[in-house]
């Protein structure tokens, strides 16, 4: 068996924190012993709420920050210590959440897409390559002369995808790529991303808090809760028969639009407060053993 495109082993990252007004301090284990791997052509989803560590994992995979311990391998090679080198960039690229902020407003679309080509000393005709990349993102080639403000949100995100594809990476890290978009636009961007997997054999690490989207786009999913993956597996069983209480709570919280989906949602009493603590989850588990609790 060939090595997975991305393998993350026992990743740990901690941050020192201060309390309100500088009072009190402590250590937050933002990522706590996280392991997963993604095979070629696969879409692996990391789902979690704010503070779950999903963006911290993305940053480490991108080489933007270093883990305290653990290892990250791409095609079997550790990337630790390579930082943001060109060699690493050649393999992994990222598509950010807000295309309005991730594109330079003073550069034309063509200039933005050329940046990685120039940085990596692309050998061929760079102008032609820009046109080719726009076409891959299903945008007309003349968009190269436009500025970001002339484009809609969905078009901007297509430009960001074209730019990420410029150096022919193996792996794309998609950090909430459609959460700033309208739902009708979202479905088209997702279709594009799926087409690209089929055409180019890309592999995605897909980060999102949108469980319904996760169900449709990812093949396997890891549910992150306070820095730990509490449940992982192919999407169908995780969504139809969640094993962890937190997964159940997440699923129960999704607003849905049909009776079939409603039937799938576990019914659990809602907790008032924010991200539930371990004690609250434990309390949920006790509730789940009483008869009115549907599992």
């Amino acid at each position: 068996m060939t090595a997975p495109v991305l393998e993350v082993r026992n990743l740990v990252k901690t941050f020192a924190v201060k309390g309100a007004f500088g009072r009190g301090r402590g250590i937050v284990r933002a990522v706590d012993d996280v392991s997963f791997s993604i095979g070629a052509g696969e879409v692996f989803g990391l789902a979690g709420e704010s503070g779950s560590g999903k963006s911290t994992i993305a940053r480490m995979v991108m080489g933007l920050s270093q883990p305290d311990s653990g290892d990250i391998l791409i095609d079997g090679q550790s990337i630790l210590g390579r930082g943001t080198s060109l060699a690493h960039r050649q393999q992994v690229q990222m598509v950010f959440q807000n295309p309005g902020a991730s594109l330079n407003p003073r550069r034309t679309v063509g200039q933005s897409i050329r940046v990685p080509l120039d940085a990596h000393n692309f050998a061929g005709d760079r102008r032609a390559r820009v046109g080719e990349l726009l076409e891959m993102a299903q945008l007309p080639a003349h968009f190269a002369d436009r500025f970001p403000h002339e484009l809609s949100g969905g078009q901007k995100q297509r430009v960001a995808i074209a730019r990420a594809l410029a150096v022919e990476p193996r792996l794309l890290v998609l950090d909430e790529p459609t959460s700033a978009l309208d739902v009708s636009v979202q479905s088209h961007v997702i279709e594009l991303l799926e087409d690209l997997v089929a055409q180019l054999g890309l592999t995605y690490l897909f980060i999102s808090h949108d469980l319904s989207l996760m169900r449709n786009f990812a093949q396997r999913v890891g549910i992150l809760y306070l820095g730990k993956i509490v449940e992982t597996g192919p999407v169908a069983p995780v969504f139809t028969a969640p094993q962890h209480d937190y997964t159940r709570l997440l699923l129960a919280s999704v607003p849905v639009i049909s009776a079939e989906e409603e039937a799938l949602r576990p019914t659990i009493p809602m907790i008032d407060g924010d991200i539930p603590t371990a004690e609250q989850l434990l309390a949920l588990r006790e509730l789940s053993q009483t008869k009115e609790f549907k599992t």
Binding site: E49, S184, D210, S212, L251, E260, L264, M270, G273
Partner: protein
């Protein structure tokens, strides 16, 4: 007509750099007393402009109300004297804003902010309420939004509270002067899904228990389904479809509504 709020044939335009754009075209909606109504649309559909026009917080210019009427209790908000309108805003009709961080002042405690609002509302309505009664009323609404320690929360600064708690403060703010109509603009969308579920639960609970009318403005069809009994679908400044919420999902008539529903990813996965 028995509707508490009735928007009739509203036309609103914006003029920027000498160019006039019509943003609301012949919009009519009704919110009966105690009803839960949703207004759904994508960005640019005009739903926020409609909400701002109703609340009277639309900047004019650049905006201009070209025609129509907004009846609240059968009185037209657009033609009544400004003094009367001020008396209604934040009292009989209030608003729950979307972004809990930018709607709270970071340098005042929660009590400072809620207390001030209450004081001004009382003054507008010509009510007398002493300091101690004001404190009691603030604690009462904090309890209504299920704050476990209302006294501690009242003395806190916004940054000491979590996102979900701040959103609940904004709901408490809207409830202070016992409104009859609550207009909610995408509450909870800035929050995590578990927190959003709590906020929607809380709103649902409050409107039924206090017999409030709720106008829920959102882009999320799931939120529409879970918080309303009647739905207006808005696209490009027009109401394109209106029906009981269950009907909208069971048998959408307009192509636009059908496309919108089809674009929503399902928790059950793709239909095969």
């Amino acid at each position: 007509m028995t509707a508490l709020l009735s928007v009739r044939n509203l036309d609103v335009s914006f003029t920027t750099y000498g160019r006039r754009t019509q943003v609301l075209r012949d919009v009519s909606i009704d919110v009966p007393e105690g009803a839960q109504i949703a207004l759904v649309g994508e960005s640019g559909s005009g739903k926020t402009v409609l909400m701002k026009t109703v609340m009277g917080i639309l900047p004019q210019p650049p905006a201009k109300v070209e025609g129509g009427a907004i009846l609240f209790d059968d009185r037209d908000l657009l033609t009544m004297p400004e003094r009367d309108r001020l008396r209604l805003r934040g009292t009989a009709m209030s608003m729950v804003f979307q972004d809990p961080m930018s709607s709270l002042n970071p340098v005042f405690t929660i009590y400072d902010q809620l207390g001030t609002i209450l004081k001004h509302a009382d003054r507008r309505l010509g009510r007398q309420r002493g300091r101690r009664e004001r404190w009691a009323r603030v604690l009462e609404v904090l309890e209504q939004v299920r704050m476990r320690e209302p006294e501690r929360v009242a003395r806190s600064f916004p940054m000491q509270l979590s996102g979900g708690m701040r959103q609940r403060i904004l709901i408490a703010m809207a409830l202070l002067s016992e409104p009859r109509l609550l207009i909610a603009d995408e509450p909870g969308t800035a929050l995590d899904v578990t927190t959003q579920a709590q906020i929607l639960n809380l709103l649902r609970d409050l409107v039924t228990r206090q017999n409030l009318a709720l106008l829920m403005i959102t882009h999320n069809l799931g939120v529409v389904r879970e918080t309303s009994t009647y739905t207006y679908v808005m696209n490009q400044g027009r109401i394109v479809e209106q029906a009981p919420t269950a009907e909208i999902f069971a048998a959408p008539r307009e192509a636009y509504t059908r496309e919108l529903i089809a674009a929503v990813p399902r928790l059950t996965g793709r239909a095969t």
